[in-house]
Subunit: 364 residues, 2 copies
């Protein structure tokens, strides 16, 4: 499967949806990928099943505060340099790239790196969405080591991090990010094809493209794009549960940047006299949705805020007082709901004092 210029808006819109409010502004990723495709370099996307068990696969990503990336676009040469340094370090070439997160800008970067290096990009990632930390990936959950992590800045500097646990790798890498002025391109989670097939969240790149296409198709057909999106999600082979959780107007918005993260919450008031309200808490990504005080969805299930009319996904930075929005909840696949997975990116990992309950149970 080749990604074309026509697919770009749809793909990036879908990646933004999977970002569930976080993962960085996908606009940057679109600009960078557009450049590659216009220059004749089309990324090739392959199904995980196409990977040989012995294939050498690695993850490429941008690390840092999304706000910094808006000011200084991720430099693709640095991402390539990180991959090259990791190859040199490991003593072998890579056969394919795989994403760390499907949501936000990191949904696009592996495709850009794939376009430039000619390496195919696996239709899969380690989050099925966006998460704020390096160890919050299924690769970690299912036993792979992030290290060695090569961090490259835009001035030719490299820092290689190895540590006893992926959580400590995250801590060291995060401290280096500060010294690298808030951003680095990184290569990590070198794995085999067999490991990728065992641990990745599958078909999330094609899912992003399909989500974007479903929204576009509904818009073109003068249908309600949120309805079009929900119908598509419910019809998928991976049997996602999807529901519109709320529709209304933003009446309260609190954001605070702390320790490199955007913490906050947004309150949406229903329209009409019996409108009720919906409150969503976020740490970069949307974590918890309450409707009239009752929990209706929680991390790692997807809680996505979209424009009330166009269904365009809105990042937490893009939320504005008075905006008319709709909130969509989507289930995540079983690989992201195991005990092991919830120990790494379940509600308690974000300071929420509750056990995970699936969205379909909460709404059932």
């Amino acid at each position: 499967m080749k990604l074309t210029l026509d697919d770009l808006h749809d793909y990036v819109r879908g990646a933004a949806f999977l970002g569930t409010g976080g993962g960085g502004d996908p606009y940057i990723g679109r600009l960078l990928l557009k450049q590659e495709i216009e220059d004749g370099r089309h990324p090739t996307i392959i199904d995980p099943e196409e990977l040989d068990d012995e294939a050498r696969v690695a993850t490429a990503a941008a690390m840092g505060a999304p706000t910094v990336m808006l000011e200084r676009f991720p430099k693709i040469e640095s991402l390539e340099a990180a991959l090259e340094t990791l190859q040199k370090r490991l003593g072998h070439k890579f056969d394919a790239l795989i994403g760390a997160e499907a949501g936000g800008i990191n949904g696009t970067l592996p495709l850009i790196a794939g376009a430039r290096t000619g390496l195919p990009v696996v239709d899969a990632d380690g989050m099925g969405r966006a998460f704020p930390e390096l160890q919050m990936v299924t690769y970690n959950i299912y036993g792979l080591s992030a290290a060695p992590v090569v961090m490259a800045d835009d001035h030719g500097d490299r820092v290689v991090v190895e540590a006893g646990s992926n959580k400590k790798v995250e801590a060291y890498a995060r401290s280096v990010i500060m010294a690298m002025h808030g951003q680095a391109q990184i290569a990590l989670y070198a794995m085999t094809g067999a490991e990728a097939k065992r641990s990745a969240v599958r078909n999330t790149l094609s899912m992003a493209l399909d989500i974007g296409r479903a929204i576009s198709a509904a818009r073109r057909g003068n249908a309600d794009p949120v309805q079009g999106l929900l119908e598509h999600l419910r019809a998928r082979a991976d049997k996602r549960f999807a529901a519109e959780l709320f529709t209304g107007k933003i009446v309260d918005l609190a954001r605070e940047t702390r320790a490199g993260f955007a913490f906050g919450h947004v309150r949406i008031a229903g329209l009409g006299p019996n409108g009720g309200d919906c409150e969503i808490a976020f740490q970069n990504e949307n974590l918890l949705a309450k409707r009239d005080g009752e929990i209706v969805a929680m991390v790692p299930d997807l809680i996505c805020i979209v424009d009330g009319e166009t269904a365009e996904p809105i990042t937490t930075e893009g939320l504005k007082y008075g905006q008319r929005v709709r909130v969509i909840g989507v289930s995540v696949p079983p690989i992201m709901r195991t005990k092991e997975a919830l120990a790494v990116f379940g509600p308690r990992c974000f300071g929420l004092d509750m056990d995970f309950e699936p969205i379909e149970t909460l709404l059932g």
Copy 2:
């Protein structure tokens, strides 16, 4: 030359003197080295001239805040692990070790690593004293690269730093130190024998031992130990200028820990009615000495505060109100006073708005 148990107090006292107030409490280094020697592992010290031009040499050191090291002694296994990782990274074994700084605890650590690995330790270092940052070494000044720098913590974690300049290596490594809870053992400045001979400050380990011995000898002979020390320094083959700058009582002491450094100043009042005063500013190490308002010595020349009676060196952390102390100034060798050297550890590198003037000129 072998270092024996009898030499230990003298050697460590001399290293503390060369620390000019900084470099960490040498007491820790003495305990650790004593253990090695008692276990039958004596470090061997060789003259730089004994190094083959092609010999593979590396630097081993502790990095971090001295106060943290007092709470958690540097773990020697981690220092060995850092050296091993660096060897693996470079693809060759080392033939000898060389110090980063002669002053303070890092004057002892290469000897401990040498005792454990069986590698000889070169009688030389990169500072001829103590300085607070990785790039403030003659190795950097005379063209060698600190990178790759292997940082090892006490839990098996490793971070390898490479960067476009040694100053940036310092910045990245410093950020990792924070995540490593204030301390790491590091291996860096891998160099050849020829490079070591060209760039190192020579015979600083034997100088530390000689300084300690001169103080001990005077004490045993009921002579004034400061006089004994000055006579020794003046009689050395490397023609050091040495003078007692002041004697008195500490009447003012200001210390502030900021950005991982101990900044401050100490004021010493002369004894008797026409005693005058002496003020010394420090950033970890003593930087500038003024006598009755006139500058009498400045970095990189050595400004050492010692106990008024015993001539025991006092670190900046050890200074106390009311203490009777004497201040000794010593010149550094020409390799530390070139234009290139002063650009890296001259007065302006510590925020002092003045050109370097040698102590012998200031007092001349």
